[in-house]
Symmetry: C2
Subunit: 305 residues, 2 copies
């Protein structure tokens, strides 16, 4: 699966990923109102508005980008109706040829992780039939349980040609509280990184592994070290743009071949029309604003590669 992602990155010349994390406050008022007129101020109404919002952004950007990353929490908050739109978004993006990274950060004891893996990147057997619940191409995974909580995800990757991004060093301000603690003189995130390499060695796909790592753009010094520790691990890099990470901060996430990382931006793309310099597009043209923001982001990153 990682090779498919790399091919699409090379084709689009854009190592980026659009975070489809639609908060209701990002949606233009007119779009929200249209869905409310149809379904009322209900879970169905909110879900419908999010669907129309996603669809417009995907239609306006899919030819420029290799992948999208829907954050499932933003859909889960609207219960079943929200999750229906998550699934619909995954299917729609795949139909447009995009690689879909399900951002769910699941992780549990072995048998439970196996169920999550089946749900998101694998298959579930029912009698003599086989189904996939959400069917994304990649999934983000939380490593707190250690090897037996992660292995079921790795197994499903190998069996179904899917991929993972495992949390190593997250982009948020307090990520250091546990992740940076020194154990025998080395931060916990480095120990996690070594395990990611070990887990990933079981699912190589060309020069890179299907088992990638989440490495926040907001800690460039750490990404420099992690890049060396994990030469064959693809990085999913959150934190660019709205969270404060700049293109300069990102360069250590890439290998010398210009590969090795895919950078996510959510708010900065999908809510671009709300802020200068994209506010000139106006709410009616929010998707065009997103397209321009994608072009600018790709140029900004390519500048440092």
């Amino acid at each position: 699966m990682i090779q498919k992602l790399i091919e699409k990155i090379q084709k689009t010349k854009a190592p980026i990923c659009v975070g489809l994390d639609p908060m209701l406050s990002y949606l233009p008022e007119y779009l929200l109102q249209k869905s409310f007129d149809r379904y009322g101020e209900t879970l169905e109404g909110a879900a419908d508005a999010i669907w129309e919002f996603n669809k417009a952004i995907v239609d306006a950007t899919y030819d420029l980008i290799p992948s999208v990353k829907p954050q499932i929490a933003m859909y889960e908050q609207f219960g079943i109706e929200g999750l229906k739109v998550y699934k619909k978004t995954v299917d729609y993006c795949q139909g447009k040829g995009l690689i879909v990274i399900g951002d769910a950060k699941r992780g549990d004891i072995g048998s439970t992780s196996a169920a999550y893996a089946a749900a998101h990147i694998g298959k579930v057997k029912i009698g003599s039939n086989v189904f996939s619940g959400f069917g994304t191409d990649f999934l983000t995974v939380n490593p707190y349980f250690g090897t037996d909580g992660v292995k079921p995800f790795v197994d499903v990757c190998r069996e179904n040609d899917k991929g993972l991004f495992i949390l190593v060093k997250t982009s948020n301000p307090s990520s250091g509280e546990f992740q940076d603690k020194l154990a025998d003189g080395r931060p916990v995130y480095e120990l996690v990184a070594e395990k990611v390499v070990e887990w990933g060695s079981e699912s190589m796909d060309g020069n890179y592994s299907n088992v990638g790592a989440v490495v926040g753009a907001t800690y460039p010094e750490m990404s420099r070290i992690l890049r060396k520790l994990m030469p064959q691990t693809y990085f999913l890099v959150p934190g660019y743009g709205a969270q404060g990470g700049t293109a300069e901060d990102l360069k250590y996430c890439f290998n010398e071949d210009g590969l090795g990382a895919i950078v996510n931006s959510s708010r900065g793309i999908i809510a671009a029309y709300k802020k200068a310099p994209y506010d000139k597009f106006g709410p009616e043209h929010f998707a065009d604003a997103s397209r321009q923001a994608v072009l600018d982001m790709a140029a900004d990153i390519n500048r440092v590669l």
Copy 2:
């Protein structure tokens, strides 16, 4: 919320929680067949069978127990149809007066954790209306992101009188890989425990906090230390029974007042009919087998209190 749980524990004299984690392999063949006859070997068919299974077990045990803990992964693997049954199970259990611990182990950066908190224990605002997505009473949370990833959950607890159980030391074999690493001579799980106390101080409810901790039954020496570190923190204790934890292992999880812990059993209760001494009930009476297993588990735990 923790006081409501304590009251129900005292009333039932059973500090236990039935894990509603229905794998299809736990279901009696005849029950599965009935749903397949109706809906085919489909996601709907599997979901319907799980619903009938859960309902029968809840009907047979609700008067004996304070709480249930549905593991959302087991529902998520059947996609939207599975999640509909998760929600239906939550509602049904609450209708029977049970306290529902949603076992979802969510956790992310702040804004995303806020969405998860809204989804599971909070509310979401849509126009001038307010809805709850899944509406459980407690939620399990993963602390890997540190304070800013956990605080949105704590805030929602305080605002909505709900509760949390935050992963401190998990029950699985490789939980020690990161959780036991010594940082300045102290294991990471102790550092997490101290943070849980700090976070919990913002949501006290009587002698205990609404912010509890997950402490596995399979590591009794560690629970002894954690009990002392977190005197006002309720423990959710997985790992009893099928995972190997015994009643003797549990006693350190409780305070001297006999409170402070609630012990989960999943397979050992819901699939009791599959194993001696409960196999004598037969598949048709699987729910009666579960009832007997609950009675035996409560007696076993009360023996050491």
